[in-house]
Symmetry: C2
Subunit: 361 residues, 2 copies
DNA sequence: CGATGCCGGTGTAACGATGCACTAAACTAG
DNA sequence: CTAGTTTAGTGCATCGTTACACCGGCATCG
């Protein structure tokens, strides 16, 4: 019931608390092996566990990293959070999870709070175009890693970013469709001025141009500026898009590139609302390759993010103490996973199916 | 950069640190309004924020609750985590999230760690049949709330539980199918000896009996005892089940009740693998009503858990200080959401069948 | 041989907030 | 007017750990 303190251990081992502390902090070179062993035995026998609060009070440090995601209700972020925790556990860290709901105020509040709580670093999944609202905290020494948001021109240079190459991702998704013969494509995303969105859209345009198609001639769609859709509501965006694009007078597209899988799935749902069939009437490519992409009917073609690798990298950067390499930006290459939601616009050809396990542990 | 301390505030307000502390802890009756105001102004001007570590070291308490879920990679748990955070935020609490991956060791380690870190309470999402591995910690004063796991006979009496009435849920799902005219039903779940599973299965049986059907005569399926499927792999379970049930020599069921939506979706995927159509050839009912149930094609009929309400309740119980009402068990009523994955068994006759005799119960 | 350096380890003052025990002043009652 | 009580606020020890400064003893060296 009463917690064991370092003094009790010291007493039991016949040394001073300082020596126990030295052992605990890896300064074993300052003691003879026999002493080390005595202390270790005492620790084991008494079941001693250092008191974190005391430790933190003294050092100002924690073994915790903060993770701020738009919403763990979104399977992509849930999966990422899980991977980050796995990585953290492996190096004895804790993850403190926060949902920003893409609210800049909330995001800032969380960053401040985490910083005040002395986290070692923060992995921030934000797509805000600027980090101005965090600049001062970063300057004061916060170790910040942005995920899924490549470094931008105006960012504080101390910030490190980890993300996929969105341009390539958008390109892969789009050229897959053009290669299948599609000539009328639409890029579907929420109205959020998200950074990853512009990259993906640029890739979309590049691929179109490569296929001698004019991006400007494509039917376009963006969420109405009004409601700033959250991450869980991403599906709503897609559904709305399908309704708008296929119920108007304008000739609808035959292929869709969605900003993420939730939006893509929502879009598929919207098509169904109107009796249209994904992979036959319309081809849809998603982004992220969440676990549900493969389960969907039809299984969704998607651009996969190497989530596990990205989680380790993010953690690593968030924990780095000194050898700061400011402005470092890690861009990983995404991979297109072709499934059944895409086909030639004739609807006749059956595409290749790549079935891979998406999960690890 | 240097953090503001309570002393600096005290100096600025011309009082002693004790008085500031008194204000901070709501003991405002011990000071004259003018003083209170002066202190408040000083706090605002200096931007003072109490140091949590120091506070915790002194008091032994936190404003944190622990949440242990099988895996936030699973959308159901992701959604729940999000709701709990919303509830916590409203009362100024933090949530420390941990993924147990349904590993009892990991679960125990997390509980211990959280307890040592002084969390105010823990919301544990475990379906383990016994809580013996946590009994001693609970006796030592841990405020433990189990979610999605109704109280069991051998549980420590201090434990409070919040969950839906699984028996009712299983009953609703199943009687929906029998009312549609289905007479051959199978209950699909992983092999985990999860508590919610038995409740749901009992509801399944009750409903069958109510429709004059014999549970024992139903084609059964349970995951092979070997691999203990995790939560993210729940979909695999369903897919496997579909393969087994519809590729053998035994006459397959026309209706399925799955232990949760992920399994249900996996099952649908498995049906598709064999060219069968959900809602036509086979009816499928899921459990949880995750956001993707509605997006699926066809939209999935599912038993909805009132997740938001359950989150507030869980938090409330986890934070309660004194007025313990031991062994309290809150059972909420689930609700059936009928969508397109269920219909009358008019469909064509099913293929031939094999037998994978897993045993239910 | 005295000085120097190193090894193995200890003493102690914090880190920042809390809350009990205490008190000076003001007020109340008899 | 004195004793008792309330009001408004203070002093100080303390939570458990850390890290810097220090120290005695022994080996080495010029």
């Amino acid at each position: 019931m009463t917690r064991v303190t370092i003094q009790q251990v010291a007493a039991a081992a016949g040394v001073s608390p300082s020596t126990v502390s030295n052992l605990l902090n890896g300064r074993t070179n300052r003691m003879v092996p026999a002493t080390k062993e005595r202390i270790e035995r005492a620790i084991a026998e008494l079941g001693y566990r250092p008191n974190r609060a005391a430790r933190q009070l003294r050092t100002g440090r924690t073994q915790t990293v903060g993770l701020i995601v738009p919403s763990v209700g979104n399977p992509f972020w849930g999966a990422f959070a899980r991977e980050l925790e796995v990585a953290a556990l492996a190096v004895g860290c804790n993850v403190l999870l926060c949902n920003s709901e893409r609210d800049p105020d909330r995001e800032r509040r969380y960053v401040e709070e985490l910083w005040e709580d002395g986290v070692r670093g923060i992995v921030l999944c934000s797509s805000l175009p600027t980090l101005d609202h965090l600049a001062d905290i970063v300057r004061r020494g916060l170790r910040l890693v942005t995920f899924d948001r490549p470094a931008q021109a105006g960012d504080p240079e101390e910030v490190v970013s980890v993300s996929i190459n969105n341009h390539v991702g958008g390109f892969l998704a789009t050229s897959h469709l053009t290669e299948l013969g599609h000539e009328r494509l639409t890029f579907v995303s929420g109205s959020l001025a998200a950074v990853n969105r512009t990259g993906r859209f640029r890739g979309f345009c590049t691929a179109l141009e490569g296929a001698d198609l004019d991006p400007a001639a494509m039917p376009t769609w963006t969420a109405g500026g009004g409601a700033p859709f959250g991450d869980v509501e991403a599906a709503q965006v897609g559904r709305q898009a399908a309704h708008d694009l296929f119920s108007g007078t304008v000739e609808p597209p035959t292929g869709i590139v969605a900003i993420n899988d939730m939006t893509a799935l929502g879009f598929c749902r919207g098509l169904r609302d109107q009796g249209l069939h994904v992979g036959k009437d319309v081809s849809v490519v998603g982004f992220d390759d969440i676990i549900l992409a493969e389960l969907y009917d039809p299984p969704l073609t998607s651009v996969r993010q190497p989530i596990s690798r990205m989680a380790s990298l993010s953690l690593e950067e968030a924990l780095k103490e000194d050898d700061r390499e400011p402005g470092r930006s890690v861009l990983l290459r995404p991979e297109l996973v072709v499934r059944d939601s895409t086909a030639s616009p004739t609807g006749a050809t059956a595409p290749v199916v790549t079935d891979e396990d998406g999960v690890l542990q």
